[in-house]
């Protein structure tokens, strides 16, 4: 009985105190309500959390690491990209030193190699800001080895099944100067000493396994050359790296002097005309290009096959293999319709047509090789970083292209 009374007493006491207990927890004002919430939070404070990805990106941005690593104005950097058409992905160390000789000169060099065993070493000393930025001068040296260049024979009727390879190595030493009277006009001239060598026998499917020397002028003997060049370049593209309007009109004349035999001396003229027709407030662009390359050997001389114009590959006739067509003259016509999908991505549908010919007068619009395709370009309004394209409709089947930089 006494036990039950005690239990009842405790129970009733709890019951009576419960509201008081609850009231003690309940704030009497709005300010107290908020204060309680804050005190509650104060008991479980923690530092702001960032995941690894955010931390990494933050570090990359704050240290300008991408810029410093991939494209610095100074110092060591990885040279990434393609050495030349068909080289495949290449990488190697690069180095820049800006502001030499009182801030007038910049030195740069790189050595890069690809998985296809292409390699190149390049060094140049540039004076790009002379005469209040109107004059630029440079000297350069280059050594490269392209061991697996494609060759299908000369002329427009070469056979896809005749594909062979050859190696082209070269040493280039020279200099050039550019005058820029205005922002859109460049007048350049240069001279280079070239020491090409051809390896046409090293591989089972090498050039001489299928073609005889008469079908590939210069395959047996490679003289040294002195190359003189002059160029007029009217560049009115806006913006330059990913044009939406304007045009570019360039003519280059080159004189190749065979310094050993004169047998391979020739002249070469390249004409490159680009026009960009803006549509829908520059959000669509019709990009047109006509390019012609013409060579003219000295009397009694021939143009070596490795310096003859070519067509085929990701930059010109995209539905064909690299250097699929080769002859003394070449004509290329390209049209692209580009449209902005969103800020960093453009779409493009394109049509390429072209031909090679042994005679200049045969550079007409008959019997053109052609292809068409669709692609995407990734970058900014000022430049294309990467393009991915599919080219179809050629006699050589479909080609998938992934390449750094713009097509034109």
């Amino acid at each position: 009985m006494a036990h039950a009374t005690v239990v009842w007493f405790i129970a009733v006491a709890i019951c009576m105190c419960a509201p008081l207990f609850v009231y003690a927890q309940e704030p009497a004002t709005r300010a107290e309500t908020l204060q309680q919430q804050r005190e509650e939070k104060a008991r479980k404070l923690a530092p702001p959390a960032q995941n690894r990805l955010e931390r990494t990106l933050k570090d990359l941005e704050s240290g300008r690491l991408f810029e410093r690593l991939l494209n610095p104005a100074e110092g060591l950097y990885p040279k990434i990209g393609n050495i030349t058409t068909g080289s495949g992905f290449s990488v190697g160390p690069g180095y820049r030193h800006a502001g030499m000789f009182g801030g007038h000169a910049d030195f740069s060099t790189f050595a890069a190699a690809s998985f296809s065993k292409y390699w190149m070493i390049d060094a140049r000393l540039q004076f790009p800001r002379l005469a209040n930025n109107h004059v630029a001068v440079e000297v350069h040296g280059q050594r490269y080895d392209f061991p697996k260049e494609d060759f299908f024979g000369l002329g427009p009727d070469s056979n896809r099944d005749d594909e062979v390879i050859y190696g082209l190595a070269n040493t280039v030493l020279g200099g050039s100067g550019t005058v820029r009277p205005t922002g859109w006009l460049n007048l350049s001239a240069g001279v280079d000493h070239l020491q090409p060598t051809i390896d046409a026998t090293a591989e089972p499917d090498s050039l001489l396994s299928r073609f005889d020397p008469s079908q590939a002028p210069g395959v047996l003997v490679q003289p040294d050359f002195l190359r003189y060049s002059a160029m007029v370049d009217v560049n009115m593209r806006v913006p330059r790296g990913n044009p939406r309007r304007g045009g570019r009109y360039a003519v280059t004349y080159q004189r190749y002097d065979d310094t050993d035999t004169d047998f391979y001396s020739f002249n070469r003229v390249d004409i490159d005309l680009q026009q960009y027709v803006p549509l829908v407030r520059d959000r669509r662009v019709l990009a047109l290009r006509a390019r012609a390359a013409m060579t003219d050997a000295d009397t009694g001389a021939v143009v070596p096959f490795y310096y003859q114009p070519t067509l085929g590959g990701p930059d010109d006739l995209r539905g064909f293999r690299h250097f699929r067509f080769r002859d003394r003259n070449a004509l290329l016509l390209q049209a692209e319709y580009r449209w902005e999908i969103f800020t960093a991505v453009d779409g493009a549908i394109f049509y390429d047509a072209g031909k090679v010919a042994s005679r200049r007068e045969d550079l007409d619009l008959r019997d053109l090789e052609s292809d068409y395709g669709i692609g995407f370009r990734f970058g900014t309004i000022n430049g294309v970083f990467l393009r991915i394209e599919g080219a179809f409709g050629s006699s050589a089947g479909a080609h998938f292209i992934m390449r750094f930089g713009h097509v034109f």
Partner: protein
């Protein structure tokens, strides 16, 4: 009386259960008795400096991550709930985030135009440069005043003199008047011949190494800025805020190291509603990374003040170039239009692409008001607080925008000292045009009744914000439902349809109605007012005002535009 007789034929165990249940029921009843209105409602000041935030640590953000997170992950809570930090009058209390200025009292045009600035623009010729500006895309550097205070200078882009600096000071003045914390900012001219470099000044070279700053570094910086005809460079001079920088605040969640930060940012009224101001001013760069948290106060009593920061990308300015046409019209990455454009090979043309911009002055950039649609306006990428904006949040913002008269807008624009003919007029005219569109879109989205008063003798008066702003025609009719309100239980009783009362011409003091005498003895009275307007059917949703007896007077303690207890008729 014995317990046995009180609960006959029950065991001790059973009796204990009964008592326990009774206690629990009592406790629950007591909890549910939390009043709807506390004595200090409506709260005018939220004391979010109460607890020491001295342990908060700086946090730095990544632009790329911020973009990706908000574009692909949709962070924050997106429940369609009422803003969590509004007081019982549906207003924002003063806090470390927001100080009611133009919304609470009249501000003179001079006050509005002066903005956060404590003085006129100082001369900076002899102020030494101490370091290069460390973040952002705009070129600039930092100088120290003779008093030892740090300032940051930012240059205008070469192709658009006066553009970014004008945007900075105009944006700061508007955001300040609205109520946000902003740093002081001035337009100054830099004379290259009078630049002084502190011997200890540093910069970071392209290899990431800190080194002594040279005159050549300054010349390279200046070369990225707009040179004036007199050879000087115009720049924005921003005074560093008081305290220690802690990085930025996000537009979602709370700072986990700040005990005072208890309201999820995506549900804060002043952040959700800031979408209205961002749309008005085309502040497309309104994102967390353009905010600033500063730790202020003496040791042991420190708190974090939250700033809106960097207005270089508002109106027609994109900081380093004119605003791109997409800005304000579409996110950087917005799947719908992108897929349409992709699928149609570009035959689908986004409407904003075809917008014409006034090209009479480089300093304006791209700024227009004809195509502008405040409801469709977008920042650079999704902002969780903006996405949570309710009609009530938008109304709150629009009311503040309505406070800026044409004269005030022109005075703020004049502060930018545009030198090109027509530039100031174009900016002001466009702001006025956009303001009117903002008001038409958002001041009319809810039943726009405000400033309700109940006189001692029970006469109700209120104002119609949309009619007062000249956006809506006078109202045809108001309908009232009066009731007694039990503050302890939240129950309403004695509801009385007071009948329809014809609206007045909408001028102050607005409409009036008399409360039923039989309710006037209650400690709390509620009236739900529905507005019948042919142009705005949504106004028939009631606004419920609650009044509390305070001595002989009635005090307005509640305003609810989301009251579901009143059936719409």
């Amino acid at each position: 009386m014995s317990s046995r007789r009180w609960l006959p034929n029950t065991s001790l165990k059973t009796r204990l259960y009964v008592v326990t249940l009774a206690c629990a029921a009592l406790a629950l009843t007591t909890r549910s008795a939390t009043p709807a209105y506390f004595p200090d409602d409506p709260l005018q000041v939220d004391n979010d400096r109460a607890l020491d935030a001295g342990k908060a640590r700086p946090v730095d953000g990544s632009n790329a991550y911020d973009f990706a997170e908000h574009t692909f992950l949709k962070p924050g809570d997106h429940r369609p709930i009422r803003a969590v930090n509004v007081n019982t009058l549906d207003e924002v209390a003063d806090s470390s985030w927001f100080t009611n200025r133009i919304g609470r009292q009249m501000m003179s045009i001079d006050e509005i135009a002066r903005g956060p600035n404590a003085a006129d623009a100082p001369g900076i010729d002899d102020w030494p440069i101490v370091e290069e500006k460390s973040s952002g895309i705009t070129p600039g550097y930092r100088v120290r005043s003779p008093e030892g205070r740090l300032y940051q200078l930012k240059l205008d882009p070469p192709g658009n003199p006066e553009m970014a600096s004008s945007a900075e000071v105009i944006g700061a003045a508007f955001y300040h008047a609205i109520g946000y914390n902003v740093v002081q900012g001035y337009i100054v001219d830099i004379d290259p011949a009078k630049i002084v470099i502190d011997p200890a000044a540093t910069t970071v070279d392209m290899r990431g190494r800190k080194r002594t700053m040279t005159r050549d570094d300054i010349d390279k910086l200046l070369a990225r800025g707009a040179k004036l005809p007199n050879g000087k460079y115009r720049a924005t001079l921003s005074r560093f805020a008081d305290g220690r920088p802690l990085g930025y605040f996000k537009y979602y969640g709370t700072r986990p190291d700040d005990p005072n930060d208890i309201h999820p940012h995506e549900h804060r009224r002043e952040l959700r509603g800031s979408r209205v101001f961002a749309a008005w001013l085309n502040h497309d760069d309104s994102r967390g990374l353009n905010s600033l948290d500063m730790l202020e106060g003496p040791a042991g009593r420190q708190f974090i003040r939250h700033y809106m920061f960097d207005f270089g990308s508002i109106m027609g300015s994109g900081s380093t170039m004119p605003q791109v046409p997409r800005a304000g019209n579409e996110y950087i990455l917005e799947w719908g239009p992108a897929f349409k454009t992709l699928a149609t090979l570009g035959l689908y043309v986004r409407p904003w692409i075809l917008v014409d911009y006034w090209e009479g002055a480089k300093s304006v950039g791209r700024f227009e008001g004809d195509f502008f649609d405040p409801v469709k306006w977008r920042p650079e990428y999704p902002n969780p607080a903006f996405e949570n904006m309710t009609p009530e949040d938008a109304f709150w913002g629009a009311r503040l925008v309505s406070k800026f008269s044409n004269e005030a807008i022109r005075a703020v624009v004049a502060k930018a000292r545009y030198s090109e003919p027509g530039a100031a007029d174009h900016i002001a005219d466009t702001l006025i045009k956009r303001r009117d569109k903002v008001l038409r879109a958002w001041l009319t989205g809810v039943n726009p009744l405000v400033n309700a008063r109940l006189s001692n003798d029970g006469v109700l008066t209120f104002e119609n914000a949309a009619v007062d702003a000249g956006i809506a025609k006078p109202v045809a009719e108001y309908r009232y439902t009066w009731s007694r309100f039990d503050n302890a239980t939240g129950e309403i009783s004695q509801s009385i349809e007071a009948g329809s009362v014809a609206g007045t011409d909408g001028k102050l003091p607005g409409s009036r109605a008399e409360a039923p005498k039989m309710l006037l003895d209650a400690p709390f009275i509620r009236v739900s007012v529905r507005t019948i307007h042919p142009d705005y059917p949504a106004w028939s949703a009631p606004v419920t005002f609650t009044f509390r007896r305070a001595g002989t007077q009635w005090e307005t303690v509640g305003l609810d535009r989301t009251d579901k207890s009143v059936v719409r008729k």
